[in-house]
């Protein structure tokens, strides 16, 4: 086993008296895709919020490449190569699709400190943004205002903004939620090709079990803030507690049908 890119130690978050996340310990290997599943309220988003710096844990540590990043502000963690998407679309609605990506690229290349360039003539950023959008198959929308494109395209755009910061570790929060089956296939294919490129490590929370089982190298099952089990898809599928607590009979049938 190589050195883990992300190492979570006893990560815990209390709200008032309730533990939203409790004692999660986990190593994520470089270039793997780890899916996090669990019912609503299992603590998946809180877990993300702590890893990405949006919340400070009550207890425990987050190590990135062995370096303690617990409690660092989001922009510092982003600079260290961690980027995330949100469950609710989180883009710049009044800007064009390409400008959305340019914002992230300006941050990456420190153009954001330029006070006297014309952003509309910044061809370096524009070309890079266009290339990224093309790669995500939304290049044709570059000039459209981000607020008016379709829901699925907005989600793809958010992924583009996430990737534009050149992360090594990408946290996707329900990337296919609310998408049509067609859009879901597009996103799944995209994540798969990105994962295969070997440039990224993915954490993905997802409700769609078909997506989870087609993408994940390993799966973490969360239940009431705790890690129920971590293992390969096959191990998780067989795990009796998971079957009882989460997958249930109905879901299981769906997977059989899907597979």
């Amino acid at each position: 086993m190589s050195e883990p890119i992300l190492s979570i130690q006893d990560l815990t978050k209390h709200f008032g008296g309730n533990a939203a996340v409790s004692g999660i310990t986990l190593d994520v290997q470089p270039r793997e895709t780890l899916a996090i599943i669990g019912p609503n309220g299992a603590g998946k988003t809180t877990f993300y919020n702590m890893v990405s710096g949006r919340m400070t844990p009550t207890r425990g540590k987050v190590l990135l490449d062995g370096r303690d990043i617990t409690g660092l502000p989001p922009h510092r963690i982003s600079r260290l190569g961690v980027s995330r998407s949100f469950q609710i679309n989180n883009i710049f609605t009044e800007m064009t699709v390409r400008e959305n990506v340019e914002v992230a690229l300006a941050a990456l290349h420190h153009h954001s400190r330029r006070w006297f360039n014309l952003a509309s003539r910044d061809t370096v950023l524009q070309e890079e943004a266009q290339a990224l959008l093309d790669r995500l198959s939304i290049g044709g929308l570059a000039e459209r205002r981000a607020g008016v494109i379709s829901y699925g395209d907005k989600r793809l755009l958010e992924i583009a903004v996430v990737l534009a910061t050149r992360p090594r570790l990408v946290l996707l929060d329900e990337p296919t939620a609310g998408m049509t089956p067609d859009e879901t296939r597009r996103v799944t294919g995209l994540v798969k090709s990105l994962a295969d490129s070997g440039d990224y490590t993915f954490l993905i929370t997802e409700h769609d079990m078909e997506v989870v089982f087609s993408l994940a190298d390993r799966i973490l099952v969360m239940h009431r803030g705790e890690a129920l089990v971590v293992g390969t898809p096959e191990e998780v599928r067989r795990h009796p507690e998971v079957r009882r607590a989460y997958l249930g009979e109905e879901d299981e049938e769906q997977q059989e049908a899907g597979a």
């Binding site: 990405s52 949006r54 502000p73 989001p74 922009h75 982003s78 600079r79 980027s83 995330r84 989180n90 883009i91 710049f92 609605t93 009044e94 800007m95 400008e99 340019e102 914002v103 992230a104 300006a106 941050a107 990456l108 153009h111 954001s112 400190r113 330029r114 006070w115 006297f116 360039n117 014309l118 952003a119 509309s120 910044d122 950023l125 903004v161 534009a164 910061t165």
Partner: protein, 314 residues
Amino acid sequence: MKQTILLGALLVALIGLVALPWFAPYFYIFIVTEILIMGLFAASFNLVFGYTGMLSFGHAAFFGVGCYATAMTLLHLKWPFLYCLVLSVGAGALLALVIGFFSVRLNEVYFAMLTLAFGMMVFSVAHHWRSVTNGSDGIAGFTLGDFGLGLDLTLGNPAVYYHVVLVFVVVAAAVLYLIGRSSFGMILQAIRQNPERVAFCGLNVRSYRLAAFTLGGAFAGLAGGLMAPFLRVASPEMLHWSTSAEPVLMSILGGTGYFLGPFVGSAMFILLETWITSITQAWMLFLGIVLALMVMFFRRGLLGTFLDWWLERK
């Protein structure tokens, strides 16, 4: 095509402004001088509000401090005017840096409260610190000497002073405009729309907000410095929250979404003020009603609404 028409209209307006003293009586020169200065003040506010999304109710602090800086250096040190203005810019920026340090850290509700409170702190200092600020009477009795840079200008002549103001305001506006169109300006607008996403792109939102706020303070300081010789006094009223209300209303009136909105708003504001105050004392009441109606029904402002419509039209 439409870009060209807009540019042409702007050019015509500019030529008209340059030529104004040759065909307009003094009364209008005074009015347009005030419109220009207040327009710059409003534009500096709109960098903070319209671009970066921070609603400040204390912007008069920087305007007023700029006014005091020029008035006091003219009175005590008799510096050339240009140097006084540089000092005003520095004073506005420095004060904004300090107030901004405390105010940009929290959400917009806090920001609005804190800017008003700190603004009124500056007001009460000017009001009570009589030995330095001369209290409610303010600083008066200063005279304009040289301009600086060896330029021989009769600044006491309203037409000459108008041209000086015009040059400063046009250059400052151009600089502000370019900042708005730069990558930095793009980040400011991104922060208005979604500060969280900007943070997750790896930028420290707080320092960008502080930079914008300080920049706004610097330009407001410049406007204040230009205002001192025009009013011939620097008084605490210029620091009062009711003065902070003016750029707010001008920006809303013209429209916060376009760069020239605050300037158009300033023109309407001052023309209305001249007209209304000749009829009734209750100018502020009128202001309040206009602000409420604009916010409720006409949020894009007059220039904004027009340009939205015209640019969308085929």
